[in-house]
Symmetry: C4
Subunit: 121 residues, 4 copies
């Protein structure tokens, strides 16, 4: 199948500094690849006051999903407590959603949004 888009944008990234209970505050870029081909992702991270970190590579096999935590990425260390944003470019059409778990205060909170599909790139 040939579904989704090749470029996805997420303006609201933020990994809370604090955690409580057994679950750690974190964010995940969730990717679904319904195609028969491997999706080679190139992820870029944008900040408020420094140069972006571009070209972090992640692979999603055919007919698989991957939920990629942004606090444990090979090739990019995203600081906690700092606003950031994400851009995901893929070699094949995929779908991208970004979710946050915040356990700063006892009792976790979740939020999620489908990323914005940019047709051009």
């Amino acid at each position: 199948m040939n579904e989704g888009a090749r470029v996805w944008l997420v303006p609201d990234g933020f990994i809370p500094e604090e955690s409580s209970g057994s679950l750690q505050s974190h964010e995940a870029i969730c990717v679904l690849n319904t195609s028969a081909e491997e999706a080679r992702l190139s992820i870029s991270f944008y900040f408020e006051d420094r140069e972006p970190v571009k070209g972090v590579m992640v692979v999603v096999p055919p007919e698989r999903t991957r939920h990629i935590r942004t606090d444990g990425m090979d090739g990019a260390e995203i600081p906690r407590g700092v606003p950031y944003a994400m851009r995901v470019e893929s070699s094949v059409l995929v779908t991208v959603q970004c979710s946050r778990m915040d356990t700063t205060q006892p009792a976790l909170s979740l939020m999620t949004a489908m990323a914005y599909p940019a047709e051009g790139s």
Copy 2:
């Protein structure tokens, strides 16, 4: 009416293992069929490290909604605590939204996103 799309994608699926209080952690695929015809859905589930489970059938009558819990599906057992993703294909145009309730810690949390409409299929 002829509204919505025929294929919908949700990358971030996850049924928390733990629950607390009177409400169980769960996810639901919420479908609205505003047409005058029955919508025959074929739902597929994708994982990180195993083959997808495809073709779980669900019917939504004309002018009805159905909120389909993914932890009690006929024809598919989605494990708790494992990242997954969903693809919903419908015989008529429908609208799909996916929501999670997480009661791992005392005090529930909710998140929701409209699914991504894939024009092709």
Copy 3:
């Protein structure tokens, strides 16, 4: 300005039965009318096992927003604890977002999604 869409769909409606603390569990259909004309909305509610309630009328003045609670509507009584869905049709282009506050357990939870814009009507 001429912005938004005329028909919007929200599959996941649910007004929790329980509340705790000072805030009541509720849902709101939030509408933004940036045009210079009054928006006359016709809202329909769909259920899992009964006929839809159609044609509840609400007006949003020009250059105004309205956050319409679904638990206090003139012309429709939405039961608590029951899955439902919404369809909003407007006389002019508007933008629609739907949010839920759940205070079933002590410590509220919020979720929100932009409604899905249906081009046809």
Copy 4:
């Protein structure tokens, strides 16, 4: 890169009156500018029962994100506890997402939605 849209709409704005714990209830308009040019934003705020506040200016440098809290804006004082809505117009293509943190009750809650991209303006 040339990605996103020039006009974005967010119907559900609300800054809770109360806060508890160390984090203050707030909302943020999160903007990602992946272009090589400065994005000059003009933000307007709409209310239920008063005239809109238009033309609040904010700049997002090239290849940067900004997470703009609506409770501390130069040129607009958004009252707490009042429904409002937002419209963001940009000189270049950007992507906009709006998020709320609610700490009214002990244990914070988050919600987020991608804004709605209006092609015309």
